[in-house]
Every structure is written in structure tokens, then in C-alpha cells.
Amino acid sequence: MTTTATTDTLTDRYVAAVLRHLPGSRRSGSRRPEDQRSEDQRPDIDIERELRASIADAVDDRVEAGADRAEAEFAVLTELGDPARLAAGYADRPLQLIGPALYLDYTRLLTALLVTIVPAVAVAVGLVKGLRGAGALDLIGETLGAALTTAAHLVCWTTLLFVTIERAAGRRTPARRWTPDALPEPPTRRARYGELIIYTVAMVLFTTLILLSPVISTETDAHGAPIGVFAPWLWQTGFVYAFIALVTLNLAVAYAKHYARWSVPLAVAGTLVEIACPIALLWLAAGDRVLNPGFTQAAAWPQSATTWINTALIVVSALTIVFAVIDGIARATRR
């Protein structure tokens, strides 16, 4: 090539900008020696070589037609446009957070979460504040604050979830031009999505209540501090956070089942995650580690109430495990 130093720099900078936006690419200059793949197999190196050749060809063409080399290079790069956009084309990456295939699922779930959980949290916080005799201004402020925080969390995490699904490989509904496949889902699939929404709402509500339980309670001790309904042991050992992580994982599995194709690893992982929660609950209930003895005493519950609650939790957990296994087998045999 007979390019001058300055024009080289412009193409270099352009190519570098494209490569920077490619996933998993390292600039050729800073390549690590331990990379054993040959150059032809490295997609970023392949793209770099091809892009450089294409740019050089286009510049040569314009120079042959009588253009100044620097101007020709400038024009060619202008035509190629924003390097980030070109890189997105190479990587086949969507230039949108949530595409049309998922947008409606996203808005439906977000609406369902917002209209159920935000009022629930607001009512819970307002009720507890009211029972404790807080001033009207304090009550309204705390309630609005809790509602706003909850809404912000819901929007943030739901969006993040769908942005992840949008970018996940092997999705059932790849972005494409409209075909009748894009018509509203048949009743069964739509019904299943309804179930998924209900499940999500229930899980988020459940988690919120568990997390709020130490600070929001109907019982208070001698100093007026709330007595949580669940055993303090759960918080001291951090077990409650592990449990919530399991609940979150359960939710992720439910979405994976809805959006991803069925596969053996997914099905096995899904069933394992599904039975992990009831097993943990079963173990907790069997060891009487669920309820706070301080709370049952303060609320003047009879001792038999604790026994009954533990027994009920054990039975429900055992049934959940059985159903999860049966459902996993049924799904597998339907393939």
C-alpha cells in the first residue's frame, strides 16, 4: 500500500473502533500469546483483515477516478458510517433494548407487577405505620417512598431480565420480518404466559414480604422495636438470602422454560432448582427454624400453632417436590 502516515491513521482508528465494539475481541496489537487459535479462526482478526481490504479497495477505486487519497479515505469511511453500528451488524446484535418480539410480553409483565406489588407494599407500609400511630405527613411520606422505591426496582429488574432474554442465544422467536407466526399467541401459550405472570407476581410479593418482615410487624418489644415473624436465626446465618437467591433462580428457570427450547440440561437444572426451595423449606420446618419464638410469644399464639405451621410447611414442601419431579418427567416424555 502506498498510503501516507496520516491516512493510515484514519483507517486504523476506524477499524480499531469497529473491533472495540465486537464482543470478545482484543486489539490485534495487544493479543495475548496464549491464544492458540489460528488467525483465520479468530472472527475479529478475520473481520479486521476483510474490512481493511474492503476500505483499501474502495479508496483505490476513488483515487483511480482522480480523487485525492486523503479525501477518498474520508469519503469511504463516511459511507461506512458509525463503527458501532457496523460492529453490531457483524455481531448480529440488536440495536434496541427490547425488540418487537418481546416488547408486548415485557409491557404485560411490567404492568402486572406494578399494579399488584406497588399497591401491596404501599398498603403494608401504610398500615404498619398507621398502627404504630405515625403522623399523617410521616405516614404519607413513608408510604409514597416505599411505593416509589418498589416501582423503581420492579422497572429496573424486569427491564434487565428482558434485555437479557433479547440477547440470549437460541431464543424461540428470532427477530425477523412479520409473518403470521407473529399473530397473537394461541390460547394455550397465552394462558401459560398468564400463569408465568401470576407466578412472578407471587414470588416477588413473597420475597418482598420476607425481606420486610424484620422491620414490619404487628408485634413490638418493650422498646417499641418490631419483632419479626420469622426466626432471627435466618438472618444471623444469612440463610434467608440464600433462600431468596433460590427463589430468584426458580423464577429464572420459569422464564427459561417459557422462552428457551427444551433441552436435557435445562430440564435437569430446572427440576433441581425447583426442588431446592421446598427441600430447604422442609429442612427449616423440621428443625423449627421458621417462626420467631419471640413473635409467637408476643402474639400469644399457643404452642400447637407453631407445630401445625411446621407440619403444614413440611407437607406442602413434600408435595411440591413430588409435583416438580412428575412435571419434569411429563415434559420430557412429551418431546
Binding site: 500500500m1 483465520d40 478475520d46 473481520i47 483483515r49 476483510e50 474490512l51 481490504a53 474492503s54 483499501a56 479497495d57 474502495a58 477505486d61 459511507e79 461506512l80 458510517g81 453500528r85 457496523l86 451488524g89 457483524y90 448480529d92 420480518r177
Partner: protein, 115 residues
Amino acid sequence: MWHVHDDDELLATHLQELRRGTVVLACLLMLDRPDYGYALLDRLTRAGLAVDANTLYPLLRRLEKQGLVTSDWNTEESRPRKFYRTSDRGAALAAALSRDWDELDTVLRSLKGAS
């Protein structure tokens, strides 16, 4: 009332929509003879199917990933170039797309004749 400028923009949008799928078909037909990105861009433009470079280059890689074209680096000349060629699968797809195009053409002609 629309200004002329708005009309131009509208026309450009609709033309782009109309031509979107034809680029793939044209590439698969033209790469019957192996060629590299810039030369293909040139041939397409001269054939009257102007494509943007930033559309064509990623498209070629996508077609390769889908197994519709195969590629080979030619390093014999002073500038190494990646040559693409339509695979058997690509040729079969091109035939199917062409049939569809012909059918569309027939339909549109009859529509125009009927009006």
C-alpha cells in the same frame, strides 16, 4: 399538504422496504462466481441494485454463518481478500427465492392489469 421533501423521504422509506429482501437473493445469484466484498458491491451497484457497504459486509458474514455461502482467503495477490461463493444450500435457497419473486411479479402484473 406534504412538501416535496416529505414525499422524497416517504418514497425512500418505501423503496428501502421493497428492496430489503432482494439483496440476499442478488448476492446468492451473483456469488455463483466467487467474489470478494468490494467487487460484489461494485457489481451490485452497476447492475442497478445499489447496496450500502455497511449493509453488505455484515450480510455476507451472516450468509456464511447460515451456510448459504462459503469463503476462502485468497492470499496470492498483494492484497489478501476474502472470496465468497454460493454453497449448494445457498443455491437451493436462491432458486426458492427466485420462484417466489416470479410469483410476486405475476401477481403484481395481474393486479395492475385488473385495475
